[in-house]
Subunit: 196 residues, 2 copies
Amino acid sequence: MARPKEQTARRGEIVAAARRAIRDRGLAGLRIKDVAREAGLSPGSVSYYYGDFDDLLADVHQDAVDRFYWQRLHAIEAVGDPAAQLAALVRAGVPAGADDETFRVLYELHVHAARNRTHAVLMTALYDREVSLYQQVLRALGLSAEAARTVAENAVALEDAYGLHLVGRNAHVSPASARANILSYLTLATAAELEG
Amino acid sequence: MARPKEQTARRGEIVAAARRAIRDRGLAGLRIKDVAREAGLSPGSVSYYYGDFDDLLADVHQDAVDRFYWQRLHAIEAVGDPAAQLAALVRAGVPAGADDETFRVLYELHVHAARNRTHAVLMTALYDREVSLYQQVLRALGLSAEAARTVAENAVALEDAYGLHLVGRNAHVSPASARANILSYLTLATAAELEG
DNA sequence: CCATTCTTTGCGCTGCGTCTCAAACTATGG
DNA sequence: CCATAGTTTGAGACGCAGCGCAAAGAATGG
């Protein structure tokens, strides 16, 4: 054996480059040369590591899902109080602006999932993990398993929708109003459930 | 003047054909020849009516927005009781399955809005009209203008998100569970607001 | 310094999609 | 039946993206 392989590192750089390219040009307009330019490589090199372009997209999706999930997990681990954890979850679950890389990638691939099983599986997996995060915090607040499940699903749904509108540059949705609306729901739901 | 123009009718047929083509192949994979085949025309004819392909997409989006809005308006006009109207709104606001034409088109174009002002405007317009529909019904139920606004925004957001997951073939979201979750929110929110 | 293995590049081939356009076709009024 | 204006078509030009490949380049062990 002579020169050692650097495949893992290079692939990581290419995935990051693809993420930036998708942010700038969108998934539909994504070209190998865009990814290559972003990674500082030639188009041939991108093909060398990702002979099939779909494999790259799958890695990008997987990376975005992991990145998003761990970011949120750390966000709630940083605080102890369950109520504060809820707020932290909401804050991390709404994009700061229309150009947020991770959110853009996730929403672009969301639609892609309609025609590709790999992406549908990843999307479902992320949804499950997000629901699970909310569910844990809601249970810590005293909600029953069943109630926590429903409320968690709705919370994740609200995040997804407001995120979609923010990324799509809906003029009447802002990060602040989105967070406020989600929190208003969570306040309402937890109060009602804890009473009953 | 000799032969009369039929442009409006033909354009309508082409828009409908594009809608079906997007349902089958997605926006990213949309080709002129697909639209042409679906419309029973040659690719040249499609170009004759839509020299710029983006103009066709704009018409498709506009058509989907109108179609969706009027369908929902009729859904609530058919019933008189505000509570029943809410249920009718929710039913019409959740896709029946992953292959619903109108929803597929709307969600595909949703993401497109991030990079195209025309589509962003249409998306915002539809959002406004949907919120307005819910707001009317909620006010009829006795909610204040402010409360109705927030609840309406959240209801629309829930619809959007569950619709997105359904279209994306999320294995853990079904039309029935989506409707149930949205209705559980609306029940909770209206009851809480009417008490206070 | 050499052999080996991995990496990178760029060029050419190929297929595909769009756009253009002239010609054929069709419907209507005179 | 002819003139006119709208419609439809298909072929060809054109550009571009993906793929394969051969050759050059770089890192490591001996």
